[in-house]
Amino acid sequence: MHKLLSTSTAARPTGSPPQRRLFRVPGGIHKGRLAALYADSDHSIKLTWSDYPYTVWPAAQAIASDSHDSPFSACMDSAGNIYLAYTDTGQVLKMIKLSFAGGVWSAGAAVEVINVDNTHRPFILKDGDGKLWCLFDHHRVSLDYRHYVRVKSSTDDGQTWGSGPADLGMQLSLAWVEPAYVSACLNFNKIYAVFCVGRSNLNMRICDLSGPTWGSESGIVSMDYIDDAFDIAPSHDGRIGLALALSAGSLYFKEYDDIAWSGLIEVDDGSGKSPQIVYQDNLPHIFYARHLGNNYYAPRHALKSGAEFALAIYSPYLGTFDKVLVYFSAGSTQFQDKTAAAGNVTAGDVFHYESQGLLDSVGDCVYFGRASRFFSIAVVLSTAGIGGSVIWEYFNGSAWVEFTPYSGAFDFDANDSLVLLWQDAASIPADWQLVAVDGYSAFWVRARVASGYSVNPVGSQMTAASHYSDFALVR
């Protein structure tokens, strides 16, 4: 399923990978319901929800209207109550409890967690004794202008944090010039806090909740650059998994067995970002955005199998095309297979060798085919077409049906365009059928020239992808 929930003008509507935004109600008559929090604008946070099979999402309800345009985090307890931690426009860290009763979430009043200097990128969790913990980046603008990871706790369901909002809480990291990013998880009777400081250093501190006592800071890995491209998760047998993506490319995995960290395991040697990790049957599953080229991404899934990870496509709607054909009506060979050229990033390699263009004259076509339906085409051209226009069509089982893409008419006249054929996968026409084109059966969309080009477009890359970022996996 791929469904548009909302549009947003926030800088990062679905937040930061180490944080939490999507939750599944764990029990009761609403067991299985999903609740999603997102930044609706640069100052507002909203909540929406859906019951299985998650096809219908009611209009979102406003939760906060004073939020800073930076990532927030939340957690859900066993009763379905949600605790939201966010930075307000004055860069004060606040918490709102969303009480769950009768199938409805009701937002309480915002409580200040800390109001000294600036706070950002909080992470909130609730332990087994009902104690709330909030970890955050504390930017000491009144002292040394350094960033510190700190933690505060509340034993009264979030009404009071430490001794009050002026209480700085406990310092977990040294002082750093660069912003800090923090994540945490509970496993048995411990909190594992993992944070990135200095852009490239992932460190950890463990809190034994029987004290509670925080252990000393230890290094996990130091690589350029990680920032917030990491996530952690516990396994049922007491391990902690870590997925991290470097800004330069590769995606890695490490695991902590409560004694030591494993070596670094490469998950994907291609470029990935926004990793999310979860354990199922004590096996780590990693979900991430895989770079296909030209800043277009598709979601991928990796499952540990033996010493390595098995990679798989996550969404059937997204990825490279199974077949891309260019059709030149006046050519001696009318169809040319450009599948490989359309999937790679080589500039200017998608064209018909006789017309020297992707499209040329009236009746020429470019066909995009996949074994499963799709809703987007990321079109990167080395030469934008001039003067021509196309008609977009899909096959309904008996005829080619003309349609205007959801994102508007596109005539291969811009170098980099994301063509949304339909709003989302849920909006794909139900009558779109498989058909064989040049002997290849697929779900095809074609762009057919309605008026010829004076300058033919030449393609570099065309994929069923989008500009994905900031995955938030259900918790």
């Binding site: 003008t9 926030a10 998650y54 096996l283 994301l418 994905y468 995955f471 938030a472």
Partner: protein, 121 residues
């Protein structure tokens, strides 16, 4: 609808015998929200797929009970009890929906179970 009529029209039950469970427990129903960035605004999208193994999603309308009757397309507040027919452990994964549910075995070869499906209304 008054409660008596509701009671009489609800509480239906179906027994589906010898149902073969082949779904893998290791598969995970992964729900994700993500941002699709655009030139002027972002799109908040919901992604939901089953990943990491064979996922067995059963539509009620595909089932036939022990009397030979096809089950309805949708069942209100369905509850499902599995009665194992062999040593394999099988179970319902996640929430039961109005028209379908997901089922899995814990390990090994396909398992067999009877399904007692009750409409709680």
């Amino acid at each position: 609808m008054n409660t008596t009529l509701s009671y009489l029209t609800g509480n239906r039950k179906w027994l589906v015998r010898d149902f073969v469970v082949w779904g893998d427990s290791g598969s995970i129903d992964a729900a994700i929200i993500a941002t699709e960035s655009g030139p002027l605004e972002g799109r908040v999208v919901f992604l939901y797929e089953l990943a990491g193994g064979l996922a067995q999603v059963v539509e009620f309308s595909d089932l036939v009970d022990h009397r030979g009757n096809q089950l309805p397309e949708s069942i209100v507040n369905a509850e499902i009890i599995l009665v194992p027919k062999d040593e394999s452990h099988s179970f319902i994964v996640g929430a039961v929906g109005p028209s379908s549910f997901r089922i899995a075995k814990s390990f090994g070869q396909p398992a067999m179970a009877d399904l007692l499906i009750m409409e709680m209304n």
